[in-house]
């Protein structure tokens, strides 16, 4: 018990940092959303919910929320398709290069987000590697637009958040007894059917947790949509930046940011409920 209390004290510095760096700005943001806009950089006195009412009444905002969520789902979907086989391989391989492979997977996380995005330019631009290759192979006649648009944003987000998904899934798959897969194969299910009937259902907690992480990261990402979208892709995060950074409308920006936060939290709770009910 004494030990437990001692540990409690050790938590204090972290709590203090979190409160200062995270909770206070958030509270500040929350307060800003409760005041009405009164010209650039200024707000009216008196607390009100009118910003939220205005947000909910404007179909543009609903479209933005839906569009941002759709982008999040797209990133999750592509990440799942790309990440599942990699995660399965990493979880089951016996090669001694395993630590190196894991390092390769998390490599994108070690690079600054701006550098990571800029690195895509020579690859995705109109005269970049991908387009040169596609044209040389005769697969396309005109270069594809893969940058400064939605495609670029999706590519950038998948690249950034795929490691989270792979690591989450690999951890879960590693805990599945390989003999369970052998039992399925022994009973007449081929490798693909075994994957669908046994591995996938048993990976469900990882699928839910991993998808949730990628989704919340994707809908709240700012730098990647801004850089890879070339200012042409409007999602909630870039919209917030427009309101606050360009128009100095703190009230609207804060309101949109809070809505995004609540939306993410709501989906997280929903998904966790869902996964608990299954387990």
């Amino acid at each position: 018990m004494a030990l437990k209390r001692a540990w409690g004290f050790l938590l204090l510095p972290a709590l203090a940092v979190l409160a200062a760096a995270f909770l206070m700005p958030l509270a500040n943001l929350g307060m800003k959303s409760l005041h009405l806009f009164a010209g650039p950089g200024r707000e009216q006195p008196g607390l009100t919910l009118e910003n939220y009412i205005a947000f909910l009444e404007d179909p543009f905002n609903w479209g933005l929320l839906g569009w941002t969520s759709l982008l999040g789902l797209l990133v999750v979907g592509i990440s799942l398709v790309l990440g599942l086989p990699v995660a399965y391989f990493l979880a089951r391989t016996k090669t001694r290069w395993r630590p190196v492979l894991f390092l390769l997977v998390i490599a994108p996380m070690l690079v600054s987000v701006v550098i990571r995005n800029l690195g895509w330019i020579p690859i995705l631009s109109e005269s970049g590697v991908v387009n040169s290759l596609l044209i040389a192979l005769g697969l396309v006649s005109q270069p594809l637009k893969l940058f400064n648009n939605l495609a670029g944003v999706v590519i950038g987000l998948v690249h950034a958040f795929l490691p989270f998904l792979i690591l989450t899934l690999a951890t879960v798959i590693q805990r599945i007894d390989p003999q369970i897969e052998e039992a399925s194969i022994n009973l007449g299910a081929g490798p693909f059917e075994t994957f669908c009937r046994v591995v996938l259902p048993l990976t469900r907690p990882g699928l839910i947790a991993g998808s949730l992480i990628v989704f919340t990261l994707a809908v709240s990402a700012y730098t990647t949509p801004a850089v890879m979208g070339g200012g042409r892709v409007l999602v909630m995060s870039t919209y917030v930046q427009q309101q606050i950074g360009t128009l100095l409308d703190y009230a609207t920006g804060a309101t949109v940011a809070i809505v995004l936060l609540v939306w993410g939290a709501f989906l997280s709770i929903l998904a966790l409920r869902f996964s608990k009910a299954e387990a």
Binding site: Q179, I180, E182, A183, I185, N186, L187, G188, G190, E193
Partner: protein, 363 residues
């Protein structure tokens, strides 16, 4: 149901030869056990039949057809794993139905078969439970039911009892044998437990270093071991180093240290031939050694200690040649005191003569 045959199969992992030029035949409906220490290659052989291991050379025959390169999921073998390997997300009934479901068997037929097999393992009332809600013994019975539900050509049991406690192990052993007999299913059982092997099998194959040393009925294996390794691995044995004095008629053996001390003996399984003057190993089971000089083969020994074993006393005695003689004494009989010098004797037919192959009798 079908016969299974391994024809001169070999398997190596890197430089390690796990199975070496091994041949084995399991008859239709037979219960055959692969018995060996860990690393003897027994599990690799079982996995070859299942299709999880492809031999480097040789053939795997299932029901007379060459199945060497047939993928595991097309083989129709039913395997029971050491760790049960039940599907944790499926109920007992769904686990048992799994093999039939992937075979696209019609639903009513699946239901009937699942009910029938669950009745066979006496788990009807557990059909809606999840594996996590079952005891170890129940899990293993579900695993058994799941394996036989597909009516496999051969049932493969990979140390299925080793995770269970002693009492449960005995019960399940009887259960497996009963089910195997009821279905008349060809069965390959892998274990390192000689008691299990002797108790459950029609025939036992003793394996060592990727080879089969002897395949025989449990009785023949115990009474007429073909090598000192088998003699030592299956039950306990006393060994005496000897030299063949006369190989015509019943063998006459001189003690290796003192050839005036003469024993009579019989040859082991397949009656290996011995030359006059050849060194050999005389093997006598503890239960065949008597206290006193009532039998013609005698040896003097000093009692080290006597322990109570329930059904009988077990006495360990020091021989003049440095070896140890272990014998079983009836529970009601008088027992010698430690330090007492006694005469031990045994009948000629209980002395089995073996070739000297190596000196490591380690089990």
């Amino acid at each position: 149901m079908a016969e299974v045959e391994l024809r001169r199969v070999s398997k190596a992992y890197g430089a390690t030869e796990v199975v070496r030029d091994l041949s084995l035949e399991i008859k239709d409906g037979e219960f055959l056990t692969l018995l060996g220490a860990s690393g003897s290659g027994k599990t690799t052989c079982l996995r070859m039949v299942a299709g999880f291991v492809i031999p480097d050379s040789g053939q795997v025959m299932l029901g007379g057809r060459d199945a060497t390169r047939l993928p595991a999921w097309r083989r129709n073998t039913g395997m029971v794993f050491q760790s049960y390997a039940l599907f944790p997300h499926l109920s007992v009934a769904e686990n048992v139905a799994y093999g039939l479901t992937v075979r696209r068997t019609p639903k009513p037929e699946i239901a009937a078969r699942v009910a029938e097999v669950l009745r066979l393992v006496r788990l009807e009332e557990f059909k809606d439970r999840k594996p996590a809600q079952l005891s170890g013994g129940q899990k293993q019975r579900v695993a058994l039911a799941r394996a036989v539900a597909i009516r496999p050509e051969v049932l493969l049991l990979d140390e299925p009892l080793s995770a269970l406690d002693l009492k449960l192990r005995g019960e399940l052993q009887a259960e497996i044998r009963r089910i195997q007999q009821t279905l008349g299913i060809t069965t390959l059982f892998v274990t390192h437990d000689q008691g299990e092997a002797l108790g459950i099998s029609d025939r036992v194959a003793v394996m060592r270093e990727g080879k089969i040393l002897q395949v025989d009925t449990p009785v023949a294996l115990y009474q007429r071991p073909a090598s000192s390794y088998v003699a030592n691995f299956v039950g306990t044995t006393n060994f005496i180093d000897g030299i063949v004095l006369d190989q015509n008629g019943p063998f006459r053996i001189g003690h290796a240290r003192d050839q005036t001390q003469v024993f009579t003996a019989i040859a082991g399984e397949n009656g290996p031939s011995f030359a006059k003057g050849e060194p050999c190993l005389l093997c006598i089971r503890p239960e065949n050694v008597r206290l006193g000089a009532m039998h013609p083969n005698r040896i003097e020994a000093k009692v080290i200690h006597v322990t109570y074993g329930g059904q009988h006393w077990v006495a360990d005695c020091d021989r003049a040649d440095g070896g140890i003689m272990t014998l079983n004494l009836p529970a009601q009989s008088g027992i010698p005191k430690p330090g007492e010098v006694v005469t031990l004797s045994w009948a000629a037919e209980h002395g089995v003569l073996l070739k000297i192959e190596d000196r490591s009798h380690g089990a």
